[in-house]
């Protein structure tokens, strides 16, 4: 992969140059938290953020999206907004990993999702390295580094950014500001490796994921699920903020008095009781304990069977957002613990 160096003093120039590739969005402060938003001015960008409230999935799977309009003559696909060029500046490695997992579901296989695909084509991703806080466990989930899914990736090396060029578009961005970049010197490589080593030791949360699927099978009837089911409020926050929760609901709306309207999809979660209800009112996940177990099971066990790794990337958002302090790492470590969780 092409690697370059961007002196930090040149970052402002580079940010100005990449506007030609699309509207620039980056993390900005929202009270004590951060959110990806359109930048009014470059100085609003907070590249030192820990995590955004919502992950970048909102740009690729919007909370609400019109899929079709219909009239008496049939359904017409909606394309509004799909061609908008954006540049997401400052996406952390775990969140890029989250997009790569969404890619496997939405792009691979016999029925690629054309809405997602169009947005993924038109939204450029510039990644940036980060310092883990007390709720990060991406290293345990093997998502603390990414080798694809971004156009450019910046590693903070003190006075410069070590820059990985991931795509031809990324290369165009670099070339459009070629004079700002410098070649990488041997001491930069040494510095990168030292940095990587130091980062690995900063994580405060850890969970061993090897053979976790087997443990999930063995603890399927564990009492821990009842306990979590009693605690969980079914607010759905953990799914909404999760970079790899992608379930959606589809609704048709009718224009009053006309045979016309639209079909929209919107975020949904397996934690709502309506999720697995079928005709006749039967519900395959009757209890909240069934539903919260399902969420854990699908992310940590089901994805391993289907895609060879858990879908959780260890971003810590669900830990921060849960109003009753359900903590994913605590749950996994209790399941893993030596004692059977009876």
């Amino acid at each position: 992969m092409k690697t370059l160096k961007l002196p930090k003093s040149k970052l402002d120039f580079f940010a100005a140059v990449i506007q030609q590739f699309g509207e620039v969005h980056a993390p900005v402060a929202r009270g004590d938290e951060f959110a990806f938003e359109r930048l009014e001015r470059w100085s609003d960008a907070r590249l030192d953020y820990n995590r955004t409230i919502l992950p970048p999935k909102k740009y690729f799977l919007p909370p609400r999206e019109e899929m079709f309009t219909y009239t008496a003559d049939g359904y017409v696909p909606s394309t509004e907004g799909l061609d908008q060029k954006l540049v997401l500046f400052g996406v952390h490695a775990c969140d890029v990993y989250g997009l790569n997992i969404l890619d496997e579901v939405f792009l691979d296989g016999p029925h690629p999702d054309p809405y997602y695909k169009a947005r993924r084509r038109n939204v450029a991703v510039i990644g940036i390295d980060c310092i883990p806080d007390e709720n990060c466990f991406c290293r345990s989930m093997r998502a603390d580094f990414v080798d694809k899914g971004f156009d450019l990736f910046f590693y903070d090396m003190g006075d410069a950014f070590f820059t990985l060029v991931g795509t031809a578009l990324g290369d165009d961005m670099v070339l459009s500001a070629a004079s700002l970049f410098e070649p990488v010197a041997p001491q930069d490589v040494a510095a990168y490796k030292a940095h990587s080593q130091a980062k690995a030791e900063m994580f405060k949360l850890d969970v061993e994921i090897r053979d976790l699927p087997e443990i999930f099978e063995m603890e399927y009837t564990s009492a821990i699920w009842e306990e979590l089911g009693e605690k969980c409020l079914a607010c759905g926050a953990c799914s909404m903020v999760c970079p790899t929760c992608y379930c959606y609901d589809v609704q048709d709306t009718v224009k009053l008095g006309e045979c016309a309207g639209s079909r929209e999809r919107c975020w949904d979660t397996c934690l709502f009781s309506s999720h697995a209800r079928v005709a006749g009112g039967e519900n395959f996940r009757e209890e909240q304990s069934d539903r919260i177990k399902f969420r854990f099971y699908h992310k940590q066990r089901g994805f391993v069977a289907e895609y060879g790794r858990p879908s959780c990337i260890g971003c810590g958002r669900c830990i921060v957002s849960c109003p009753v302090d359900i903590h994913v790492v605590e749950v996994l470590n209790r399941l893993r613990g030596v004692a059977h969780v009876a």
């Binding site: 394309t79 169009a118 289907e306």
Partner: protein, 294 residues
């Protein structure tokens, strides 16, 4: 920061939303409605676009997504056999928003259909062996596509046995069609009702599972395809296992809530499988290895 975008580039990605969109329903016209039992009609459709009408093909056991403008979308099994491609028949029970709206429509009205989806029955593996088809109640809707597939490709299969049971004669789907099979020598057809209050029933009056007493089935050479409500699975599976069926020769069709049909929306999950792409046909072995299956 205001974007200063280069000249607009051609957008093949947007074209893929307009053309080849897997969620786009194709216009289809209702060409026939036939009442079979109370709140369960057989609807026949023809695609408006001749190219789609020509290219649409399916496997027995697959389903489509039926759209009624304004009401929404619902998964419905294809009840006709791919061996009779000129018709697309759906046997629809009136259950809620979409199906209610369909029941208000008339011949010539337009609906949307996309698909087919799901794995369907593993007919390639079944070829050369015997087939037992067992359905209870509305389970005949998905099973009928396999029934006619095996009959229309009769020479490819060994012995065929059909067991179909319902509460009473009035609740039997395709009643005349099923009766007409009883005299066919190339399939052993066993029809049973739990009760016959009207006294019009010429066949067995017994539980569906009791029809096994009249059948001659070799579990070593037979695939069993079972469709019906959960109660049917319970009793039929017991009988099949007692007969010595291997768990991966028992095939069942399962229903879950579905919003996309193509493995994206997450609604149809069972354990970690999606009914819409890994199913709706599962072996009994799959079933007992996935928590939450039945």
């Amino acid at each position: 920061m205001s974007p200063n975008v280069l000249a607009p580039a051609p957008q093949p990605a947007i074209e893929a939303v307009r053309l080849g969109n897997p969620y786009a329903p194709h216009n289809a016209r209702i060409v026939g409605v036939q009442r079979m039992v109370e709140d369960n009609h057989l609807f026949t459709f023809r695609f408006v676009d001749p190219e789609i009408a020509r290219s649409f093909s399916h496997r027995p056991g697959q389903f489509i997504m039926l759209s009624i403008p304004g009401a929404g979308e619902a998964p419905i099994s294809i009840s006709s056999s791919p061996t009779r491609p000129h018709v697309l028949e759906l046997c629809v029970r009136r259950a809620g928003r979409v199906t209610d709206a369909l029941y208000r429509m008339r011949v010539n009205d337009l609906v949307g259909i996309r698909g087919p989806y799901g794995n369907g029955f593993p007919v390639e593996e079944m070829v050369g062996g015997d087939v037992l088809m067992a359905a209870g109640g509305l389970g005949m809707a998905p099973l009928r596509s396999l029934l006619w597939y095996t009959l229309d490709n009769r020479s490819q299969f060994g012995k065929l046995t059909l067991m179909y049971g319902g509460r009473n004669p009035e609740s039997m789907l395709y009643r005349n069609e099923m009766s007409s099979l009883v005299d066919r020598p190339d399939i052993h057809t066993l029809l049973g009702v739990d009760a016959d209050p009207s006294g019009t029933w010429k066949y067995h009056v017994c539980r569906l599972a009791d029809l096994f007493d009249f059948a001659d089935i070799d579990p070593r050479t037979t695939h069993a395809a079972v469709c019906g409500p959960p109660i049917v699975y319970r009793f039929i599976l017991q009988r099949l296992l007692k007969l010595g069926f291997s768990k991966d020769r028992i095939l069942m069709s399962l229903e879950r809530h579905m919003k996309c049909g193509v493995g994206k929306c997450g609604h149809c999950s069972i354990g970690y499988k999606y009914t819409c792409i890994h199913g709706p046909i599962f072996t009994y072995w799959d079933a007992i290895n996935l928590p939450e299956m039945i």
